[in-house]
Subunit: 576 residues, 2 copies
């Protein structure tokens, strides 16, 4: 049976199952969520109002046996940035949707009252039931309730207290294969789900086939093998990420002087070793946790982990470089055990750990607590959980917190927190922060790969030369990768191994019976960016928003680098 | 001696006295503040950073004996709206500056440390001294300290606790002839002064002439007489405003069904009579206060008052319709004594009473207190005064409060609170809210004059017909009036009395020896708007920002009117 779109109207609690329009049949993941949002959402609408839509879509390769193909995209107009938004995450949902032939799940409208609802998606449609018991509960309680009620094999999308309160830092959590969480993190999409009054969505694939149909099974198998080999052979994908997690970057980025420290006052953190991937791996091994863990079935990189406390009890997983940087170097806290505890709290409340942790640093800038105050950080997270006035401020993200406290040193672009690489010392990523359609987002065009990790060549991070082109090429490629359901980390292998990208194209053709070329995939990426950019322009964004905050004109040690791109140089990004 | 510009650099605490460039010699008030901001402030700069400038300028006729010519303009990039901003207010400062030959006072840069400063402006220059004693004090304490130290005749510009904290609702207060306050209210300019670390500015005119020089004294005298006569003869300017204050509008606007009630859910407030101008005048008379009071010397309208409590003690003055509406109908509080007390608190803290009171209504929408809870309103204002987390939220204005609480029913345009006329039921003012360069602002193009008060003809408030033209004509005229130092209420007479505008032109020509025509004055207004609009566009504003919030699509009783302008119809405003 052909794939279908499931459309849930939360205004009248009705469900429609629709054929996929021809124009969308070749799309998946980000390409599809952005196409649907661009086609159906008025760019100037209120992101928390009834005219916004929240779209979930598995990638084009999700549900196949392709390595690392289980990413789920979520799209909407972002309440944090006001732009179009796509996030993607692992977990089990993408593969379940794909197996169930659900090309996209669209939530639209909003109910009149204050009550919340739970959705259950099956191959037959969507049940909508009022939910009361779990309202006010954290994400872990929702998972526990699902597993107790016999839904262990079901997928789950859920929001915590932050999403219920429509907080701008709220994310959407996706259950992973071990009953833990992955996050559709950025842009406040949890607030959109909260505005639609959906507490959680259970995905029950009973009756669905075990894998998606393939037009050419043999061809697929061969290409998938080549692709998996390319990942396993690459030093980053096949070794470093599995060994140390993404936190392997702490020492590397500190070494090159680009680890933003004390709210972007330095590029080096004296205590970097205390929060490094090496340190984390040693702690985990000593305590009997797991250094390797996959966020979805079929992941060969295993960059997640099972972080345990001194007594060997589970604390958190998916404990990422970005989160550790933000609470660590940015907030100057060097206690990895405390950061792991904080990570778990953020997962439970349902807030983006980048936005939330950068915001804590902004709260330190405001003098609410001191830089380095770990227990203070836990207290502030508890305020977010409780929804106190201070917690409400912080749960609104860095830009709002900066406004409430009258600050200028607020690291955001388009109101979204700048992640873990100082744009003065790694200029390519600065171009990505400025120009991506998503607000500051490293994943949108991860120039760190080439600026620091020397994948796909090398572009000197401290020179302006070549950065715009680098960011543009990576943003186009990323938009394509985000549409396949593949994890963005496959890009390292794609950049360095000539066999990798043709293998992806071969898998797509074998899956759908198409005859795409590598150029078609690039064209898809270009089309996605242009669709998103047009949405943002219609929403009122101009080149004037493609700018870093003013304080980046200050030199940052150790290189005393400054942000020195002219407006014209930045704006040249869109010349394609 | 020719007029000069006083320029204070708060970065290095230096002062320059400059000649007025030729291009600015014919400008005053808003025309001058907007020209300086447009020429010297980078549109994308952070409003609270060192690149913003705060400009004060008396109007072209300030310091003369022209009736109602004592308005002071303040301009900057607004931290509330992100647009260019001009506010004007009475008080004594404009006339003092004009007599001292100070065409404009520009504050630029910002000091490195946390300490505050006090400025003293004399004809010789500006003294800059560290200020510690009055830091943390309210505006009334600053005035009291000035008067105690023998500065009773000096002018004063001051910020309260809100401005010190760089809160987005912070205003700048101007001492009036009776040692009370008038407000440079909107757009958060108090936060800009706070960011520049200036607590207050004393204006000492010792040695300055008593009036400004006039090129043709006789001609001026004749024109001034004609002008004053036109004001006194007009039923609004010469009678209603003096009798009942601006609060005379409560019953009138309620009657036409355009008094926004319970956060814009109705156009009529059942208890409107309890907060009406008629009620206020009766209370004042009974208690021995004053129903008439001028905000500056030479005002013939006397729309201010001295509002006293049951025991005859002074409570507040400048107790305006907008403030009373916002706390009254919008928040559903019908106790005028309580509102007067709240007005005084807001003056002391230094917050825009429109922004602050509309924000209280948004807090009611969020459920922080109930609609109608007067004591709750006083408690919330006290939180703003104390700078608690909740107070910080509210002091950030309606848009931020709406974001922090995840609301969609937030009456703002360009983040500034919508004032006291429902745009669905008075469509002309809706066009002004959308299109003015200032964020929602009734004074920018007060179509109420023609839509309701039938000055200058009548345009049916419920029909779309003619509203864009009406708003455009009034916005152009207002930009010109705001440049003269004349109170905007002179517009009523100008609209109805053919002699009034030529008299204004005659006064300008007699003052400066020019030969301007009425068309030149209109051209000045057009030029001001275009300068401001260009600044906003360079700051990143587009037509997409010229929109009312989505909830205005809901019908509002009693007319069940909706906001039904298309985007194209609104955007036609700028076709001139």
């Amino acid at each position: 049976m052909a794939d279908r779109i499931f459309r849930v109207n939360m205004g009248d609690l009705s469900v429609k199952i629709e054929d996929v329009p021809e124009a969308w049949q070749g799309l998946g993941g980000r390409a599809l969520t952005s196409a649907i949002v661009a086609a159906e959402v008025k760019p100037t609408c209120h992101p928390l109002g009834k005219y916004n839509k929240l779209v979930f879509a598995p990638g084009l390769l999700s549900g196949t046996r392709a390595a690392n193909s289980g990413r789920l995209s979520a799209g909407a107009k972002s309440p944090l940035t006001g732009t179009i938004k796509e996030c993607n995450a692992g977990g089990t949902a993408a593969q379940l949707f794909a197996r169930m032939g659900i090309k996209a799940l669209i939530l639209e409208g909003m109910p009149a009252g204050d009550g919340f609802y739970a959705l259950k998606v099956t191959t037959d449609g969507v049940e909508i039931k009022p939910e009361t018991e779990l309202v006010g509960a954290g994400n872990f309680a929702v998972i526990e309730a699902l597993e107790k009620s016999g839904g262990k094999d079901c997928g789950l999308l859920t929001i915590g207290q932050a999403g219920e309160r429509r907080q701008l830092a709220a994310n959407i959590s996706v259950k992973d294969p071990d009953g833990k969480l992955r996050s559709l993190g950025r842009g406040g999409l949890g607030a959109v789900m909260g505005a639609k009054k959906v507490k959680y969505i259970v995905i029950d694939a009973a009756g669905a086939p075990k894998t998606v149909p393939l037009v050419d099974e043999e061809k697929f198998k061969a290409a998938a093998k080549t692709f998996a080999r390319a990942l396993l052979d690459h030093p980053v994908c096949g070794s470093a990420l599995g060994e140390y997690g993404t936190d392997v970057l702490i020492n590397i980025v500190n070494e090159v002087g680009a680890l933003p420290t004390r709210n972007f006052r330095s590029g080096q953190f004296d205590q970097h070793e205390m929060i490094s991937g090496e340190k984390m791996a040693a702690m985990i091994k000593e305590r009997g946790g797991k250094t390797k863990h996959g966020c979805h079935a079929g992941c060969v990189m295993q960059c997640s982990q099972v972080f345990v406390d001194r007594d060997g009890n589970y604390v958190t997983s998916g404990f990422e470089y970005e989160t550790i940087w933000a609470m660590g170097a940015h907030c100057c806290i060097d206690d990895l055990d405390l950061l792991a505890q904080a990570d778990s709290i953020m997962d439970d409340i349902g807030v983006d750990s980048i936005e939330m942790s950068v915001t804590i640093g902004v709260a330190m800038e405001a003098g609410i607590i001191e830089f380095g105050d770990g227990p203070g950080l836990l207290r502030l997270l508890n305020e977010v959980k409780e929804g106190t006035p201070l917690g409400r401020i912080l749960g609104s993200g860095a830009a709002v917190t900066g406004k409430v406290y009258g600050l200028t040193r607020v690291p955001v672009v388009k109101n979204q927190a700048i992640p873990a690489y100082d744009p003065r010392s790694v200029k390519g990523i600065g171009i990505t922060y400025c120009t991506t359609t998503m607000g500051a987002d490293h994943t949108a065009g991860y120039t760190i790969a080439t600026n620091i990790l020397k994948c796909g060549g090398f572009v000197d991070p401290l020179s302006k030369e070549g950065q715009v082109e680098l960011s543009r090429n990576l943003q186009i490629a990323t938009a394509a990768v985000d549409s396949t359901g593949l994890c963005i980390f496959v890009a390292f292998a794609v950049l360095d191994n000539e066999a990798a990208l043709p293998a992806v194209v071969d898998m797509l053709n074998a899956r759908f019976g198409t005859s795409l070329t590598v150029d078609d995939v690039t064209a898809l990426g270009t089309q996605v960016l242009k669709t998103e950019h047009a949405f943002n322009q219609a929403a009122g964004f101009t080149n004037a928003h493609d700018r870093l905050p003013e304080f980046f004109e200050e030199p940052v040690p150790p290189h005393n680098a400054v942000w020195d791109f002219s407006d014209e140089e930045i704006d040249a990004f869109w010349n394609f």
